[in-house]
Amino acid sequence: MTSARILPLFAAGFTLFLMIDLLRRHQLREKYAILWLLVSVSVLVIAVFPGVLANAARLTGVQTPSNLLFFIAALVLLVVCVQLSWEVSRLEDETRALAEEVAILRLDAEKGRFQPPARE
């Protein structure tokens, strides 16, 4: 085996191992893990069978196979970034809603402490 094949093999194996370990220890939610598992499996396939990449490049009319790889990698990263921005926006909305709730609850609690509500 040439050293050019060992590097991607190592990278793919490492990501796969990391993802499965994070999942096992409940450190990663399924929805994120599935994407990275797919990515690491694809890299593993390409590392073991480099012919797949060459064939895909020929089919899509890309002259240099590695350019196809870079293109796909950029695309995947773009999608991941957009998804993370979306998730962060949602989290911001949710923490804001929580802060509002806490403020209202605090007022209610303080009202209860200082002036007991009139009972009928």
Partner: protein
């Protein structure tokens, strides 16, 4: 676990999202047909006044500030039940599909199991489920019956009773991702060493509106549930951790 000891008998946890038209009837029938049970409705960001209707009908209401999904709502309900010292909890849907009169039977079956499923297709009544979803349900039931070494006919039923062990597990680990939550919860329970049993029940059609599971969702159901199940298999659950500690101690002693 801190908090008060076990004082109260059972709590019915009713997850509800925009069920104004049926939640009142569900609460009333629970109070009537299962009088020993307190009722907690978890209003998950409804916009139709579900919480107010439930409170007027006599339920305790937990109002979540935004939608957490059924799994998140159930975790909140289990936490509340644990902290308030209930010995058992039973999940009852707000759409009227679950028969309140079956609640006592589910609870008494907890004498010999940690989790009791109110199951359709177990001889009682008929309940029409169509095409793809029915097939998926059969396959999942067969898979889980094998994994849990118990005959289970309806693993997607949300009608379940839990004892305190199961509540403690679920308050932390109830699946929140809608990937087949009801199915995954059973696998988690069995991995944690809990015993699952079922009691045949009649299930009624929804009182109003439509299920959150449309045709597309039904079709995706099997795939999502399989992913959830494979993940539950590779994950570590409390039982594994206990087993690990034990084997660690055994190793220490052997030295």
């Amino acid at each position: 676990m801190t908090g008060p000891g076990v004082q109260r008998s059972a709590l019915a946890i009713v997850p509800a999202l925009n069920e104004r038209r049926s939640v009142g009837l569900v609460v009333q029938s629970l109070l009537r047909d299962a009088p020993s049970v307190d009722v907690l409705v978890v209003d998950d960001g409804s916009t139709d006044g579900t919480g107010a209707v439930a409170a007027a009908a006599g339920a305790l209401v937990l109002t979540l500030p935004y939608n957490l999904g059924v799994g998140g709502a159930m975790r909140a309900g289990f936490k509340y039940a644990l902290r308030s010292g209930y010995a058992a909890a039973v999940q009852v849907d707000a759409d009227g599909q679950h028969d309140a009169a079956a609640v006592p039977a589910l609870l008494s079956a907890l004498a010999s199991a940690d989790i009791v499923i109110g199951a359709r297709f177990a001889g009682e009544g008929e309940y029409a489920v169509t095409g793809m979803r029915r097939g998926a349900m059969r396959l999942l039931a067969a898979t889980l019956s094998r994994a849990l070494r118990t005959e289970l006919t309806d693993v997607t039923s949300g009608f379940r009773a839990c004892n305190r062990e199961a509540m403690t597990l679920f308050a932390r680990h109830y699946p929140v991702e809608y990937l087949g939550d009801t199915v995954e919860a059973l696998l988690i329970a069995s991995r944690a060493g809990l015993k699952v049993a079922q009691v045949p029940v009649v299930m009624k059609p929804r009182l109003h509106g439509t299920s959150t599971q449309g045709t597309l969702r039904s079709t995706l159901y099997l795939g999502r549930a399989s992913i959830a199940l494979s993940l539950a298999f590779i994950r570590r659950w409390p039982h594994d951790e206990v087993a690990d500690v034990n084997s660690h101690e055994a190793r220490q002693e052997a030295r």
